[in-house]
């Protein structure tokens, strides 16, 4: 039996329908650029749709703050842009300190990020107890970023793909990329015999699975998968509007309008290359920390736990920028469990890179060459190896 491959010519091909790829597709359409996106499953069904839902600038490396600020503006206009508020709220993000050392770290971050005007307030002592009587005893204070917040990733990430489709992007779901070729001018991305997408520009937003594509073009990076452990309680009377984090990590937690508390922290376990679940011991650890942080949770029930598969690079910073080997290839992956908030900003940056070849937002810190062998060093190594023999 022969099948006829559907050939689609377009300006930009995107691999991966998470929040990065989908928001890039939308941003490109808003610039009038033709775009085809291939997603092997359903858009926003992996990390982008199953993450914690924190929309947080506070605590990010300063190198990410320009991107985070750009995204912050997109979030402000979310309903107009994607047709839903996605349960997005600027409810405040409160990072808890459990020691004076933690408080010093939080204060240092507030100073470090001052140029970005995040509006951070340090709260401790009586004020803390007055403002959040529900906090457990170990919290000595914390750092509040009032305009950070939370959203529902299950709604937001697929909505970006839908909005892109409404804006004229071709979104091909259940269409896994099986091969990609480059003839010097055009990329040809195939999904078996079903589809061949040809475009001069290719954006790699394949998340935890982006490494193979990069490697094929001579840019192997040490990308590995991570699986956050997540859990949600039954609905409880609403008591907490802040999204909580803890200095030094360990647990994060928010309460949605419906009343459920969503908690994350620790690692899940991979079931196979594509799926993961919360590790038993991680959920138990999360439970201990949750009760310590919020004693009211003691008698609440967990009703569901889950995990996802995210891409991590050793420095926990993404790769975002143009390929150093292949003209027209653009990378955007490795967001290390912190991509949701910056996603819509990344989408705009990717669209700029695809159309104009450069971004108006500084992204030098995320260049892929930080993982590539320095050509001169490589030459030196070859020389010294030769000398040793």
């Amino acid at each position: 039996m022969t099948t006829t491959t559907r050939v689609i010519d377009t300006d930009v091909a995107i691999v991966g329908g998470g929040i990065m790829g989908a928001s890039a597709a939308l941003a490109l359409r808003r610039k009038g650029v033709d775009v085809v996106l291939l997603e092997r499953d359903l858009c926003g069904s992996r990390s982008s749709g199953v993450n914690y839902g924190g929309v947080r600038r506070q605590g990010r490396p300063v190198s990410q703050l320009p991107l985070a600020q750009r995204a912050h503006q997109v979030w402000a206009n979310l309903p107009a842009l994607i047709g839903t508020d996605g349960e997005y709220q600027r409810s405040g993000h409160f990072k808890i300190g459990r020691s004076e050392a933690d408080m010093a770290t939080l204060e240092a971050y507030a100073n470090l990020s001052r140029d970005f005007d995040l509006g951070i307030q340090l709260i401790s002592g009586t004020t803390l107890r007055e403002r959040c009587p529900w906090l457990g005893g170990r919290a000595v204070g914390g750092s509040l970023c009032p305009d950070d917040g939370q959203a529902n990733p299950r709604l937001v990430s697929p909505a970006f793909a839908l909005a892109a489709r409404r804006a004229g992007a071709q979104i091909l779901e259940r269409t896994p990329m099986t091969s990609v070729e480059h003839d010097g001018k055009l990329f040809t991305v195939r999904s078996g015999n079903a589809v061949a997408v040809r475009a001069p520009v290719l954006i790699n937003c394949a998340g935890a699975w982006a490494g193979a594509l990069a490697a094929q073009f001579g840019e192997a990076v040490p990308l590995h998968s991570g699986h956050p452990a997540m859990a949600v309680t039954e609905p409880l009377p609403f008591f907490m509007h802040w999204s909580l984090g803890v200095e030094g990590g360990g647990i994060y937690c928010r309460q949605v309008a419906r009343g459920n508390l969503i908690l994350g922290g620790g690692a899940g376990v991979a079931l196979d290359a594509d799926s993961a679940r919360s590790e038993r011991s991680a959920i138990a650890t999360l439970a201990v920390q949750a009760v310590e942080l919020l004693p009211a949770l003691k008698n609440a029930h967990f009703i569901r736990t889950w995990s996802g598969t995210e891409g991590y690079l050793p420095d926990r910073q993404p790769v975002l920028g143009k390929s150093r080997t292949t003209h027209g290839l653009v990378h955007g992956f490795g967001f290390a469990g912190a991509g949701f908030q910056i996603g819509p900003g990344v989408g705009e940056v990717l669209a700029e890179l695809a159309r104009d070849g450069r971004s108006t937002t500084p992204i030098e810190a995320f260049a892929i060459e930080r993982f590539l062998p320095d050509p001169q060093a490589a030459v030196a190594e070859v020389t010294s190896t030769a000398a040793a023999h």
Partner: protein
């Protein structure tokens, strides 16, 4: 290899679990039997609390001898098994089960070498407007009230839906009611009488069971209980509590005053444990469900994991006993223990012979495949999250959702305390109707731990007792 080297665990102490345990013990093994109930017997032969003084005859009627036989089998095994009642398996991974003990509010981890999952079934629910009113129960719930607590769900009760349980519960209520002043206001069966006639040939393969069914219907009619077939439930009425049921005969609507309703459309398998373990699932047309795959002996796609009873497909109590024994024999044989091959073959024959009868039941009490077409937009499908049929349809229309996990993600259907056990069947029917896809094509909700909600502080204990938690880093 000898049986004592095995480390078998059985989850569920209903007909399948008890016969499996008996078989393992007979071959020298010492199984752990984990049972969610306080006393073994399963749902169908559920035992009341120990101090209740009602005779098996009163409780189980024509099934008294079967119930008694199973109970005494389990009691007789006490010295040879590790029986853990009041224990909910809430999470699992290869070789490990997390178990919550209700009375002491503690959780512990049970290791297994081999596992027989006999997790049973719950009612198959198809909502009707008004079904969330106080006073509305499932048929199984109505029966549990009677058998376990010795009380009824109301004094003037409508029983509605379809399936053998409909008539059994009606009979039990009508009989119990004679003394207690409880009345069955009506039995409303969505199956047509013609369906039952057409099913007779297949059901004649089990004449005794068929006779029991006919006896219930005859008894009800003889005792003046209104039995209507071919009905379509329209709504349950009431302000603070149910006070009437409205049904349609296709021409006109009829109202039956009542103070309680029991309803259900046969049963659905409890498959979450098999799902968490990673058993492969397949669509089972007769059951209209995605079920864990098993061979004729009960082997799943995972080595060392076996299925028996209604948890693997609704086949009834007798089949559960045979399947439990068969799965235990398979477990033993797979691990080098010599078993009676003739007995194994006989059990498989008995199970195979039951299939025409089971198909007959489907013909006699067909699933109302037009249910979704009649479900109004305002109908609450998911009562945990208050999600209506209209919201599900809108999601399909506006966001293109065509698969169960996607519609769950976008609407919250199946995302509440029941995790889809109650609403999943109906949501799938609505999704299939809205997308125009066949029901087998809309997928199934992925199982996620915990199988049932579990208090947070118990999970904290589990860490302290059994794991050395890695330093959290996120």
């Amino acid at each position: 290899m000898t049986a004592p080297t095995l480390q078998p665990v059985i989850v569920g102490a209903g007909p399948a679990g008890i016969r499996a345990a008996q078989t393992l013990v007979a071959h020298g093994a010492r199984p752990t039997v984990i049972d969610e109930a306080a006393r073994g017997g399963g749902q169908i032969y559920r035992r009341p609390p120990a101090h209740f003084a009602r005779s098996p005859q009163t409780l189980y009627g024509t099934e008294a001898s079967r119930a008694t036989a199973l109970h005494s089998t389990l009691d007789g095994l006490a010295a040879h098994i590790d029986y853990q009642p009041n224990s909910l398996v809430w999470n699992a991974q290869a070789g490990l089960l997390d178990v919550l003990h209700g009375p002491t509010q503690t959780t512990r981890t049970v290791r297994y070498g081999q596992l027989i999952v006999a997790s049973g079934a719950t009612d198959r629910v198809l909502p009707v407007p008004g079904w969330t009113l106080p006073g509305v129960y499932t048929l199984g719930g109505a029966q549990v009230a009677l058998k376990f607590q010795g009380c009824t769900i109301g004094r003037n009760v409508v029983l509605m839906g379809t399936g053998p349980l409909l008539y059994l519960v009606a009979y039990q209520y009508a009989k119990a009611g004679a003394k207690a002043g409880v009345k069955v206001a009506a039995v409303l069966d969505t199956a047509r009488f013609a369906d039952q006639l057409a099913a007779l040939p297949g059901m004649l393969t089990q004449p005794a069971v068929l006779a029991k069914g006919l006896y219930y219907v005859g008894w009800l009619r003889a005792h003046g209980v209104a039995v209507h077939t071919g009905v379509r439930p329209v709504r349950v009425e009431g302000d603070t509590r149910v006070n009437a049921v409205v049904w349609s005969d296709g021409q006109a609507e009829h109202t039956v005053p009542c103070d309680a309703v029991g309803f259900g459309y046969a049963l659905r398998s409890e498959t979450q444990l098999a799902d968490l373990l990673g058993c492969r699932f397949a669509w089972a047309p007769m059951h209209r469900a995605h079920l864990p795959e098993r061979d004729s002996a009960g082997r799943t796609s995972l080595a060392g994991v076996y299925l028996a009873g209604d948890g693997a497909g609704i086949m009834g109590a007798d089949a559960a006993e045979w399947a439990g024994e068969r799965a235990a024999l398979a477990l033993l044989a797979d691990h080098g223990v010599k078993v009676d091959a003739a007995r194994a073959a006989e059990l498989e024959r008995k199970l195979t012979k039951l299939t025409p009868f089971r198909q007959g039941l489907e013909r006699a009490f067909p699933f109302p495949t037009d249910w979704a077409a009649h479900a109004p937009d305002a109908l609450v499908v998911c009562r945990c999250e208050n999600i209506t049929a209209g919201e599900l349809r809108a999601c399909t229309r506006d966001a293109g959702a065509d698969e169960m996990n996607r519609i769950k993600a976008l609407t919250r259907v199946g995302m509440g305390r029941c995790q889809g056990r109650m609403c999943g069947v109906a949501a799938a029917e609505i999704l299939a109707q809205a997308t125009g896809k066949p029901i087998d094509q809309v997928g199934r909700l992925r199982g996620q731990a915990p199988i049932k909600p579990i208090p947070i502080h118990l999970q904290a204990q589990a860490t302290a007792a059994h794991d050395t938690p890695a330093e959290a880093t996120a």
